[in-house]
């Protein structure tokens, strides 16, 4: 897999894979964001959308090698964002205490079938997607870094 390619960078797979990846990875990321934002309207939701977002970065890492993906998404940022997602979900839950009880849906219900509806559910979806996506990507990153450290020994 790791063969020296003439051109932009040495790490990663062949030129064909890199070109296709450059064309598709943005679309995959956009599709993940779409699944998250429409979680309360169509099948999917925070968990599935988060995994798709994580997979887009994993795709980038497989095709271009570790360094490109890490430059786009450093490990510190990953752990910060994951904690941010968890805190966001918890604070949405605590926000319900303002209306009387834990996890109460205090925002307006809105009109069904419109994007801005269902109160706190879209916000919870975004928080969960942040947590799941970044968390799974961080696990993959940790495993890759471990593999690399093993090879250096």
């Amino acid at each position: 897999m790791k063969q020296a390619m003439p051109g932009n960078s040495k790490a990663g797979m062949s030129l064909i894979v890199k070109t296709i990846t450059r064309l598709t990875v943005g679309l995959i990321l956009l599709f993940g964001i779409y699944i998250v934002l429409h979680g309360h309207l169509s099948p999917g939701g925070g968990f599935a959308g988060g995994v798709i977002i994580a997979l887009s970065f994993v795709h980038l890492m497989l095709a271009f090698g570790k360094d490109v993906a890490v430059r786009k998404f450093p490990k510190d940022m990953a752990s910060n964002l994951e904690s941010l997602g968890a805190l966001m979900f918890l604070s949405i839950a605590l926000l319900g205490l303002l209306g009387g009880s834990f996890f109460l849906n205090i925002l307006g219900k809105g009109k069904p079938f419109s994007l801005f509806s269902a109160g706190t559910i879209p916000l919870s979806n975004i928080a969960i997607s942040l947590k799941v996506g970044v968390g799974l990507f961080a696990i993959f990153l940790a495993l890759v870094i471990l593999e690399k450290a093993k090879k250096e020994e």
């Binding site: 309360h40 069904p112 269902a118 559910i121 020994e153």
Partner: protein
């Protein structure tokens, strides 16, 4: 009331797990915290979470005990077969008795089991405003369960990052 007792027990067991010197006793104390948490979930009416907690706790205990103990536990059976057989038969009898009581309470075959789920289906859209019923259930009616699962995922990611980070590996070498 029971919940407060359980919480006190969990705090006590956690302190024991940190303070005790013997590694196996510490693992057992951690396991008792987990099983008390499982009971607490049952009292709080979250059966799905209680089942998950129970299964995960058993798996973790097995792994931790296997990691703690270097060799197999000696199994002494000579000269105690009367006691062993009697206790086995007693426990089978107790289990069958309670299983009979529990099975009698089940609704007859074909009766609607999902009286709660039917309410979710009827009132999901009007109460939450979300058209996707799955989202409405996991993020509104059953948001506690989702919070528990998110916590489990968060903890597992932290654990993996802590085990696989590089400074920790350097130290061992």
């Amino acid at each position: 009331m029971e919940l407060h007792l359980l919480l006190l027990f969990m705090i006590f067991a956690a302190v024991v797990a940190v303070e005790v010197k013997d590694l196996l006793s510490s693992v057992i104390a951690v396991g008792s915290v987990g099983f008390a948490l499982c009971l607490a979930f049952l009292i709080l009416k979250a059966p799905d979470l209680a089942i998950t907690q129970l299964v995960v706790e058993i798996l973790c205990l097995i792994i931790l005990i296997r990691a703690t103990l270097k060799k197999d536990l000696p199994l002494v059976i000579e000269g105690r077969w009367v006691f062993n057989t009697l206790s086995t038969l007693t426990f089978i009898g107790v289990f069958l008795f309670f299983a009979y009581l529990a099975l009698k309470e089940l609704p007859a075959f074909g009766h609607p089991l999902m009286s709660v789920a039917k309410r979710y289906l009827d009132e999901g859209v009007s109460k939450t405003g979300a058209v996707n019923i799955v989202s409405a259930i996991i993020l509104d009616f059953r948001a506690y369960d989702t919070l528990g699962e998110a916590t489990v995922l968060f903890t597992s990611v932290i654990g993996i990052m802590a085990i696989l980070r590089r400074p920790g590996r350097r130290k061992i070498e």
